[in-house]
Symmetry: T
Subunit: 153 residues, 12 copies
Amino acid sequence: MSTGKTQIVHILGGPNLGRLGSRKPEIYGFTTWAEVSELCQGWAADLDLELVFDQTDGEGELVRMIHRAGDGAAGLILNAAAYTHTSVAVRDAVEAVSIPVIELHLTNPDAREPFRRQNLLADVVTAGIRGFGVQGYLMALEGLASMLTPAED
Amino acid sequence: MSTGKTQIVHILGGPNLGRLGSRKPEIYGFTTWAEVSELCQGWAADLDLELVFDQTDGEGELVRMIHRAGDGAAGLILNAAAYTHTSVAVRDAVEAVSIPVIELHLTNPDAREPFRRQNLLADVVTAGIRGFGVQGYLMALEGLASMLTPAED
Amino acid sequence: MSTGKTQIVHILGGPNLGRLGSRKPEIYGFTTWAEVSELCQGWAADLDLELVFDQTDGEGELVRMIHRAGDGAAGLILNAAAYTHTSVAVRDAVEAVSIPVIELHLTNPDAREPFRRQNLLADVVTAGIRGFGVQGYLMALEGLASMLTPAED
Amino acid sequence: MSTGKTQIVHILGGPNLGRLGSRKPEIYGFTTWAEVSELCQGWAADLDLELVFDQTDGEGELVRMIHRAGDGAAGLILNAAAYTHTSVAVRDAVEAVSIPVIELHLTNPDAREPFRRQNLLADVVTAGIRGFGVQGYLMALEGLASMLTPAED
Amino acid sequence: MSTGKTQIVHILGGPNLGRLGSRKPEIYGFTTWAEVSELCQGWAADLDLELVFDQTDGEGELVRMIHRAGDGAAGLILNAAAYTHTSVAVRDAVEAVSIPVIELHLTNPDAREPFRRQNLLADVVTAGIRGFGVQGYLMALEGLASMLTPAED
Amino acid sequence: MSTGKTQIVHILGGPNLGRLGSRKPEIYGFTTWAEVSELCQGWAADLDLELVFDQTDGEGELVRMIHRAGDGAAGLILNAAAYTHTSVAVRDAVEAVSIPVIELHLTNPDAREPFRRQNLLADVVTAGIRGFGVQGYLMALEGLASMLTPAED
Amino acid sequence: MSTGKTQIVHILGGPNLGRLGSRKPEIYGFTTWAEVSELCQGWAADLDLELVFDQTDGEGELVRMIHRAGDGAAGLILNAAAYTHTSVAVRDAVEAVSIPVIELHLTNPDAREPFRRQNLLADVVTAGIRGFGVQGYLMALEGLASMLTPAED
Amino acid sequence: MSTGKTQIVHILGGPNLGRLGSRKPEIYGFTTWAEVSELCQGWAADLDLELVFDQTDGEGELVRMIHRAGDGAAGLILNAAAYTHTSVAVRDAVEAVSIPVIELHLTNPDAREPFRRQNLLADVVTAGIRGFGVQGYLMALEGLASMLTPAED
Amino acid sequence: MSTGKTQIVHILGGPNLGRLGSRKPEIYGFTTWAEVSELCQGWAADLDLELVFDQTDGEGELVRMIHRAGDGAAGLILNAAAYTHTSVAVRDAVEAVSIPVIELHLTNPDAREPFRRQNLLADVVTAGIRGFGVQGYLMALEGLASMLTPAED
Amino acid sequence: MSTGKTQIVHILGGPNLGRLGSRKPEIYGFTTWAEVSELCQGWAADLDLELVFDQTDGEGELVRMIHRAGDGAAGLILNAAAYTHTSVAVRDAVEAVSIPVIELHLTNPDAREPFRRQNLLADVVTAGIRGFGVQGYLMALEGLASMLTPAED
Amino acid sequence: MSTGKTQIVHILGGPNLGRLGSRKPEIYGFTTWAEVSELCQGWAADLDLELVFDQTDGEGELVRMIHRAGDGAAGLILNAAAYTHTSVAVRDAVEAVSIPVIELHLTNPDAREPFRRQNLLADVVTAGIRGFGVQGYLMALEGLASMLTPAED
Amino acid sequence: MSTGKTQIVHILGGPNLGRLGSRKPEIYGFTTWAEVSELCQGWAADLDLELVFDQTDGEGELVRMIHRAGDGAAGLILNAAAYTHTSVAVRDAVEAVSIPVIELHLTNPDAREPFRRQNLLADVVTAGIRGFGVQGYLMALEGLASMLTPAED
């Protein structure tokens, strides 16, 4: 399942994701964000994808990161964390880019507090993966790769 | 990514999915349900999984199919279609089984009519995949396989 | 007001309609469902329409009946009864067929309990008739006939 | 389907209906209000009904027209247009008359903006017809005629 | 309870009140609007008040009548009927006048349909009387008279 | 406007009314509850009514006072104050008595905080008076007297 | 507490009840549905009642079972499970029968998820029992027996 | 169905229940509260239960009665009447006792006004019985007795 | 900023605007409607626009004025006042015309009562200006002029 | 932090607080209400405050206690418990006194059931303390003392 | 229309505005943010205004920019973009400055997604302009200039 | 009330707090943020606490500050200002730290605009203080100190 030629994919994380591994491990697991980055770099390499992997706690900074993805990448995997539920700005940024955007959540937000059921991104992203933990990043990379590859490839 | 020994997985489809390929192809694509079945059989074989693939338009029948999955399968991939939004009975059946359940949608329901934002399954399933079309079934099978396999396998 | 050539029309009834005549006659009248069928057969014949007349209490069965109407009929008159207010599956089936669908109610649901004001079909059907009792079936057949007939016929 | 003796029926139209034919023809069609009047006069004559056909843009004027219908007519076909969704005064007027009132809409309001789902008349009228275009007026006249005629007539 | 010098009071009625006595007499009683007018003229004379008594079915006309009351009267008794529940225009007119305004209802609107519980006037009028039938007009005239009269008078 | 023979009327006040005159005089005026009692005794005597005048801060006690009014009085004037907005128990008590009940408020509750727009009594009382201050008690006594008196008396 | 002559009672169960004993035993207990049936047969015999005991996962099938109870039984004990919260069709069927219907729940649905607080049956059944576990069936049978027996019997 | 040794049970009634028999007998029946007390005393004796039977119109007093039941009784049957729908204090008291609490209503509150659908007790009581009239007290005593008795007794 | 050739623009005012200058001057200012008319005539002349300036308190009359603007004008500046918040009829009329419509408010309605936040016109007008007082009319005329003028003009 | 001269402070507790120490100790702790009283007496003495410490389960009695505090005290610390969420009467009493009122909760109500998020006191009290357990009473006394003391004292 | 002496005006843009011209040009047009800046500089110079023109994607940064405008500018034109709908922080900053603030939107947000109808700024700004595209900046500058200039200037 | 050994406490302020003293002094008082810092430093020293005192207008920056507090501090006093009402990110950060967090507001937010009643932090903080002005910081420090100190200290 190779894409034939190297394409750039961005993986972006939102607020508090940098604390992964130490924040509520009974919910989010013990893998740290640095380890996720390393795993994704390996998986991307296997899929002949070039990976930009980044994280921020700031809403405006996340908007700018999405702009940059829109300028240079072939696809975006976005875990906007808390901004999923509150940010029209991030939504506007996602709408402004013309590449496929995969919404990813480590856990299943709908199984948590009611306010996490409000999702401002779900209707503007291309597709979504939730509840597979870190494994979800591999699935998202594969799913994105298959979107980027012509069927006959 | 083999599971080491053959485990049974059920893939169940809800109402109107039998019409796939002819119903609103601009939304759901031109692949028929029979073709999805065939594709999944192949993918399952590659993953050393034994596959039970079924569909029904009836709420009660879907409840019974989930009961049967709970009795014999190691995992369930469920596209409950319209019942996702209206059926407490299907939800109760999902809660009653003790195997992992992956909720799958071919399209992104949140990008459609507002009433599709009510989801009675999202908080009782293990994980979810949406918007990848038929490709999502392969991803769900792989994700389920990785859940069923010990990491060291 | 003849259709010129024989076209097939389906008339489908939803749950509890089979009890017509004995259920709440002060609301629904004393005509039985069998008598409605007979009346409709006569009216259809007068309009040179071939009629398939059926009823079911099951949501899944009603979905399948609508599929069958979509496969062979030129038009559908649908009294989905209680499923009008609760069934996304029936709505999806109506949306999946490409023939005109007339929504019919013997009584005026808006003049009854508040939950009957939720209507999941009203925005996907072609037209609607309510409150004319059994006479409404004749009106629906005539209205459908006039939709199926070119004006110059 | 003759009523046996001549009875008076009023057909009343609410705001903006006078612009029919020029306002949003892709929704409302190209027939003008004057042409609808002419068609209805012909249909009424065929049914041995005497027809009063009127229209107004004013809420108070529509209330008065309904009063007049209640004083002299045997039945009323009312297309209250926008006032359907906002006018308690028109509703009160409909409730104040003791003749059958048929609510008519050229299009299907439920398939349009959400605020058109609020309907202040639906639970006080006798019956309703929607989505049949101008043909609906013929159906309403026939339906009203059959209400006014004893079955054995 | 005389006001000492003659002051002008307006009594204004909204839509459908002209039908009083014939509309739903089991709710509104058998007294006609003309008889109410006569009774009020007598009561006003007893209180040394000069009375302007008027009614309209039109929202705009009612607005203009309130303007006129604001220009020349010492107080206003307003039964806005249906416009009580829907008209921001009437509310704005009431807010624009600087005389005391008594809101009057023959029946108790809160004991009727739920939409009559929305009241756009209740928080801008000076006082209110409801449910006393025609007798309420006498009470309103007396209450208004006592507001207009210095206590020592 | 005499009742012809002496009938008993109860005037009951709810929580905080005993503080009248000292609580928020800019809203409720400077008349004390004792002075209201004295005024009402005088007005009742003028109308040949025997008056029971009482007040309590307790919900249960108010319920019992309404029971007692229902047992012996010909009519009840009730200013339930805060319990107007929260007490189903007081509502049930009002519904349980078969005498006319006038709801009275010194001020206009709708012109105050939004939660005062919830009124659990308005649809079970006979009539209502609001916003006339202490003068409202005289009006309520007169209105009640006219209800108790046969018209020809 | 005998009914004097043998009367037929139906006990009907809705979706997922067939799994009783294995589904969430910490909530529903370890008694299986077959054991409930046996217990009820014994209790009914003690009360001289003839018992029809049935269960289905299907909404339409439950509607038909209620029709059959309405045709031949003297009373119905209905545990509609999930359909309690979603089915207008089951509600319509309950309204269509003229025998007393007891709504029964093994647990207390109000102590569970918020959506179980929506109950479409509660206002059309005769009486209800909840939270007594299997013992509730005995209580319902006794309560029903006492409704069916004249007091002097 | 004897409990083997005498245990104390409290039956408590809320506001307006003391008027039973005279308040709305078409809804609540003609049996008085004193008669209910007598009936319950007899039924309790048959079940070898010692009964404390009490009623109050006051919210605070009902809270204290529940405290006392919690101190000395083995179980509580509570008909909180109107406080069922409004009292967090009564709810807190119920939560504070560690004995089983049966919620009882003579009628079916869900079949009455919409505000009676708000129930602040339903999710903290052990079980509930509604709509069986006075007979419900016997059923509640028996249900409670069976909870208090070891199965092998 | 001249339009090159004379085009007709309508400025229409809704209910109570005729009272401008006397109604709530602390909110709306002391300029009268006649003075606004004069100012606008001057500004329009400076922009080589021919101005029709009108006002009405009636909903139906405003609908008709909008129809007339749609027939002859190149643009419309509409201050629908209270009808902004309640009139579907005015909205329908705005939608029916094919010229640019500028919504104008002298004050900022969102800074006033909550019900003024409901705006039935905002999503069908071309553009909006609010809170600039009478100066807003000049701005609207200039903005409209720039819409009507080709950029190269 | 002495107040310089002895001032009276009232500490009032609402329903169920008298059970402190035995009711849900895992939430409210094991300190009894009598012990809280003793602790507060000591703390008040240290701050040169004279303390009135009282509790009631009754809404009306709590209203009266607040009246008494308003008459003689310099400040009030109020833990209205359940009445915080349901009582307009207590709110009216708080508004009626002109002394500073501190709202105190032992736990954090917002971290409990959703209905505890409705708070009828929060916008009329001077300040609030929640979640500090019994320690909160000391903090409230100190905070109140600092409000009562001139800064230069 | 000169202000007589040079005053400073700030024009601030919120998230995603920096992408103007490339983001959704069919909605926002093809003019870039840099070009808007240039146009505004020219228009400001014509009006003898000194212009500070800035943009940020960050909520906190926008708050700080508003603070700076409040410190040195005579007026502010604010296009807060997405933060219009979600940011209490930006609202608080607008409330904290004492200069006139004009809210500007290039398009008409009310004609877009429903969540854009929530506007946290509309009731704290001085005035608003929407839907005029880039031309709106000129209008806002002129409107602001007229606010800053004494009428006699 | 000394903690025995020096522990670190963070005090963090959210958006617009840096403007304290100049922003709406009639609400927030005239003390500047720098003065608050100084006061807190003194109070902390008295309590043998080491204080980190910081403020930011940025949501992401506040998230990072809370992370840092969680890494090194024994407790956190958080005045998140506007982010209290809108930020899931700040809430997630608070949930991610395992130290006690005191929510502090200078004023009483519930006494201000309705949207300030939405509080995303209240159910995840340990305790709260509101409405004591700057004095509240001293109280929070003392309350936190008592939480950090063993009772026997």
